[in-house]
Symmetry: C2
Subunit: 330 residues, 2 copies
C-alpha cells in the first residue's frame, strides 16, 4: 500500500507502556448470519464492521490475535461438496474447515488491514492456517452430537452410510437426516508458538478459525486430520493460555452474561470469579447453547492462568476492557 | 508434538554458515493431477512425497518459503460452487482462491511438519493466507484468457451472462462454454515483509498459494479482491525479489529446460543468463504453455536482483542447487 497517499496525517499514537497481548474471539456470525443473503458483499460488509472495532483496539497499542468461528460458512462448503458429489470427489470435513480458514481469514485480514490503513496504521495483518490437536480417545468421538452440512432423505442417508461408513447421522423430525460429528476438547494449538512471536513483533494475527483444523497425534508423533468440530471459544482459550495472553476476550451478541435469562429473576452479571462461573454453570442458571461454552472456556482460562476473560459485544470492546461493560471472569 | 517420543536420536545438523533464503515453487499438480482419483488420501500421499524433499532442504539449514499452484483444486472448488448455485449463494473466484490457500496450505504444512518431525527437526511450519496486488489497468483484464470451472451448455451460459454480467466466456468446440478470467502480472505480495521475518527466525513458511488472492488497490489505498488467476511462478519471483531471497527455485516435471523439445535438434539447457533466457523465449525455441512463463519469471528474477533461479524436478533439488541438475538462469 506504499503507492497511495496516506489518508491520515500521522501514525496513530501508540501507548508507551508494555503492550497488552489479547486473544479476541469473534462469533461465526460476525461474517455470515443464517438470515443474510450470503453474498460476498454482505459478508465483507459484516467483516468490515467487526474489524473497525478491532482496528481501534490495535490502535491502543495492544498486540491482538483474532480468532473466529466458521459456523455458516463451513456448512455451506460442506453443502457444496455434497451437491457436487457426482462431479468432484468430496473432501473430508477437516479440509472444508481448512478451506474456511483461508476464505474467512482472507476477508478478515483484508477488512482489518483496510481499517488500520484508513487510521494511518500500517501494522501488518496475517492469517495463519491453524491446526488444533485433539485426542482420538476424547469421549466426544463416542457420541457425536454436532450436526453439519445438508439434510438428507432416507435414501440419501442410506447411500451415505454405505459409502462413508465412518459417518454418524441423526434423525431430524420432519426434515430427514443430518450428519453429526464429535466436538472434542482442544489439547494444543500447533501454531501457537509462531503466533506468539508474530504478536510480539506487532503483527496482528488471525488464527484458529473455526477452532482450527482438528488433528490427532499418532504413536510416532505425526499429526493427521480428523473430522470433528472444535469449539472456537475453547480453542481461543487454549491459544490464549499457550501464548500467555494478558486477557481472553470472547465477543457475543448479548451485552453481558445473564443469569436466569427470560425469567422474572433475570440479572446481568458484571463479574464472576472462575469458581463463581463454574458454580453458575452447574446451577443451570445460564442459557444453554452458546453462552454456556463461552463462560466455561473463560472460566478455564482464568483458573488455568490466573488472568481474566471478558465477554462482551464487539461495539463495547473498549468499555469492556476498561471494566465498564460486558462480563469479566477471573 | 512434545508428548511423543522423538524418532530421531539427535537434531539434524545445521550448517554453521549464513543460511540461504530460498523461495521454492511447487506445481499445482504436486497435490492433485487431472488423472488422479482426487481423494484426500491421494492428495496427501502426493503432498507427503513432495514435502519429504523440502524437509531435506530445510535440514541443510536453508530458510525456505514454499509457494504452490492450485490449478485442479481451485477448479474443483469452483465446480462445487456452480453445482450448488441453487442451494447456496456462490462465492466469487477470489474467495475460491483463498479457500484453496487454506486447504492446500493445511495439507502441505501437515506433510512438511511430519517429515521434519521424523527427521528430528522441530522447525515450525506455517501457512500464510497471501494477497497479491495487481493493477486494475493490467491489459490482461481487457482480454481474459484463462478458463476456469465447469463447462456450460448454451442455455446455462446465457443464464450466467444475465446473472453475472462481469463474466467472460469462451466457446469450447464440442463442449459448450467456459468462463475465462484474466491473468494479470503481480505487482506486490502484500504479506512479503512478514514472510521475510518468519523465514529469518527459522519458520518454514508456505505462502502465495495459487499465486495469492488477487487484490487491487483503490484510490484511497484500500485493497479489494478481484476475480483473476495469478501465475504462481510470477508471484513466486515477486515474493523472492521482495524478501531478497538468495535464489528462486521453480519445480517442474521436466529434468531441465529443453530448446526445440520434440524436434531433431532438441537440447537440454544447463545454464542461461537472464539475457540468454529472454532471447530464447523470443526465438520461439521453448515449449509454450508451462515452461515459457517459468523461464520468463526466472529471467525476470535474475535480471531484477542479480541473483539466480533454478528450474528442476523436486527429486533433483539438492543436485540442482549444487549445479549438478536442472537449469540455472542468471
Amino acid at each position: 500500500m506504499t503507492e497511495a497517499a496516506h489518508p491520515a496525517a500521522a501514525p496513530a499514537p501508540r501507548s508507551s507502556s508494555v503492550p497488552m497481548t489479547l486473544v479476541v474471539a469473534l462469533g461465526g456470525n460476525a461474517m455470515l448470519r443464517r438470515s443474510d443473503d450470503g453474498t460476498i458483499e454482505t459478508q465483507l460488509a459484516r467483516s468490515d464492521e467487526a474489524m473497525a472495532h478491532i482496528a481501534r483496539l490495535v490502535g491502543t497499542g495492544a498486540h491482538v490475535a483474532v480468532t473466529h468461528g466458521n459456523g455458516p460458512v463451513v456448512g455451506n462448503i460442506v453443502i457444496r461438496n455434497e451437491a457436487a458429489r457426482e462431479l468432484v470427489t468430496p473432501m473430508p470435513l477437516y479440509i472444508a474447515g481448512a478451506d474456511s480458514e483461508g476464505g474467512l481469514g482472507f476477508m478478515l485480514q483484508l477488512s482489518l488491514a483496510n481499517a488500520l490503513w484508513m487510521r494511518g496504521d500500517e501494522s501488518p495483518v496475517v492469517t495463519l492456517v491453524t491446526e488444533t490437536v485433539v485426542s482420538a480417545d476424547d469421549p466426544a468421538f463416542e457420541r457425536p452430537t454436532k450436526p453439519i452440512g445438508p439434510y438428507y432423505t432416507d435414501e440419501q442417508a442410506d447411500a451415505l452410510r454405505a459409502s462413508e461408513p465412518a459417518w454418524s447421522f441423526t434423525s431430524v423430525p420432519g426434515s430427514g437426516w443430518r450428519r453429526v460429528v464429535a466436538s472434542p476438547k482442544p489439547l494444543r494449538i500447533v501454531q501457537a508458538p509462531v503466533i506468539g512471536r508474530l504478536l510480539a513483533t506487532g503483527t496482528v494475527t488471525i488464527a484458529a478459525g473455526g477452532g482450527g483444523v482438528p488433528v490427532c497425534e499418532a504413536a510416532d508423533g505425526q499429526l493427521h486430520g480428523i473430522d470433528a468440530v472444535i469449539d472456537k471459544d475453547w480453542a481461543s482459550a487454549m491459544l490464549a493460555t499457550q501464548i500467555e495472553a494478558d486477557a481472553l476476550v470472547i465477543l457475543m451478541e448479548s451485552d453481558r452474561v445473564y443469569a436466569g435469562w427470560g425469567t422474572p429473576g433475570q440479572r446481568a452479571i458484571e463479574h464472576l470469579t472462575a469458581q463463581g462461573a463454574g458454580d453458575l454453570l452447574e446451577s443451570g442458571a445460564l442459557e444453554e447453547g452458546s453462552i454456556g461454552p463461552k463462560v466455561a472456556a473463560s472460566a478455564w482460562f482464568a483458573a488455568t492462568t490466573g488472568r481474566h476473560a471478558v465477554m462482551c459485544r464487539v461495539e463495547d470492546l473498549d468499555d469492556a476492557l476498561a471494566g465498564r461493560a460486558g462480563t469479566r471472569i477471573g
